[in-house]
Amino acid sequence: MGTSTTRILPFAAAIGAGLLLLAGCGGSSTDGSGGGGGDEEITLTFANADPAETWATVIEGFEAQHPNITVKQLNIPYAQYTSTINQRMGSGGDGIDLMVVDAGGAVLDWNNRGYLADITDLREDAVAAAVSESMVTAREVDGKLLALAPWTTSQFLYYNVDVLAAAGVEPPPGDPATPWTYEQLTEAARTVQSAGAAEYPLLFDQWDTYYQLQMMGVSAGGGDGIDADGVVDFSGDGWQRALTWYHGLFEDGLSPRGITNDKNGALFQEGKGAFIISGPWGVSVANAGGINYGVAPAPYFEGGEPATSTDSWAVGISAKSENLDAAKEFLRYLTIDPAGNAQAAEVAGITPTNKEAFAAYVEGVEASAGAATAGFGAILQYQLENNAVHRPAVVGYSVFEPGAGQLFSDIRNGSDPAERAAQADEEIGAQIERLR
């Protein structure tokens, strides 16, 4: 017994020590070795909320051009992304050089917390390279540029040509300067419904999200629903008009309740929808279904302004990065360099922000579906330049967005728009005030 005990003791202790070491490694930060430029070996850590393959192509391209720089990804699940960045940057930010920054208030929150480096020196080149100036300026706070967006989005009205023909509905015009109104769209959906031409007359790609509904509130004259002081207002006439319209779609059975956002594209793809309001990715979704479809600009409210939701993730540089020059070089490659920007958007299948990359992307999309997508590029460019609405960079946005989502979801399920909006105004406002 004594001998075996003596043998086991170091073995068991070694296992314990090994585990401790492992635990220690788990907690340690990724290293960002080296300093500025030159031929020194530099490792950049790029935190993002995507699977690694999304950024792998552009990283390969960048590393081929910069053999002394290695870009290491820190892929964080979307649901934990903000809290992880807050935690890592709040405790010193060691090891993170670049990070994706969501549209909306994240850029302001992180600027206030001192997480983001000032990259205003890239502004001039970025504006010159971007499809629209507002893509760049949407990420400015107090005149300081804090992030650059490699990707952008817009919204379109996709329609099923065969379904509309069966219902005797004239398709919406493709001219981006004269989109349909939401009233015209509702009328057409009603005709499809009474003709029984499609199971779902009107679908949205993302029910109940602020990204999807912001453009409706803005078009109806209700603004963003939150002002610069964090005052929430969904009860004003504009938002009430938009929310009452939204509520009515489900009450009247023009749009379905109980369908989750992962299913909408597939329903349109299978020919079960007459219309779907969706982003540029709607083209590849519709193509995969082999249906006969068309693309029109997103609608607006009669008497209101045309407005289309936009933006996606941007990329910022950590204020704590010890590799500022290398990080800027990577960010420049992601956005200002046409080849790099095209690579950055390639895997995600999303719209690139660089003019040249954008032109090549549009050409590819238009070639993918013949007549169906002939007007796609013109609509996309017109909307991005003329009526894109950016999510507001205001304090409290991170509280506002989920609160707005719950409001929209409840209204979709039948809550009274006025009562529920008043409740949301109060609750979201109080929550923002609490966290100030």
Binding site: T5, I8, P402, Q431
Partner: protein
Amino acid sequence: MRAATATRRTAARPAGSGRRRRRSVRTTLVALAMLSPALIALVLMRVVPMISAVSESFRHVSLATGASEFDGLSNYTYLLTDSGFHSVLVVTLVFNLVLNPAIVLLSTALALLTAQRLPLVGLWRSMIFVPAAVPGAVVALIWSTALQPDGLVNALLEVVGLPPQPFLTSASQAAFSIGIMVTWGALGYWMIFVIAGLKDIPDSLYEAAALDGAGWWRRLFSITLPLLKRPMAFVLIACTVGSFLLFAPVQILTKGGPNGSTNLIMFDIYNRTYLLGDVGVGQAEVVILMLLLAVIVAVQFRLLREEKA
């Protein structure tokens, strides 16, 4: 004084005791070393997060600056006076009060049923157990499709001439729908524990009762159920703990809606901590949940102790 006593005692010991003591110290060290992987895991994954939750629950993080400062009991005061949290507690408690007894009764009934001499009884038991092997997220996705307004369940209702129901899209039916989904997934699992309890009841008791002329019902109420009290108590308590921690179906299907009707406490903690960024209040809620669960575990021990006595 104490040291002197200890020295005297040691000195009074026979020579062999020193060796025994060394051996027992060595055995203790070996035991500790063998236990160290589990102990380290326990400390890192349970104790440290618990201490961190408690300490964070006394702090306030500013959304504007990210600064975290000690804020005394204000998170608790806020939670306990917040009507939103009151409704979370009511929803969670009512949900558990209805769901857990239902699961215990149904799993006991199924265990009793499959304990009878039925043809293909193994097959029935396996079929009841299969949903327990399906991950919670998958159960939620299957039911979300079935409970869609134009889904399978409404199609079945239509076949038997009943009107379609809104299920997850209605504030009055959503919690009930989630309850059905959870019950479907959990029944088979808890049934196994009751079957194990049934197997522990000696046949001689039933034989003696049969000789005394006791019928099936009499045997059920006088022998089976009293002797099943222990496994049923275990199922009730364990199932309650599980149901208090229910998260996946709410996150996947309803996000706490419609109108907060499925805002169970775990989802509310997630919502406050990760979506609203109100870490302090989220952690205070975790502490309140831990206290609630501690009370439940205390009740469990009490029930089991009574049974022993």
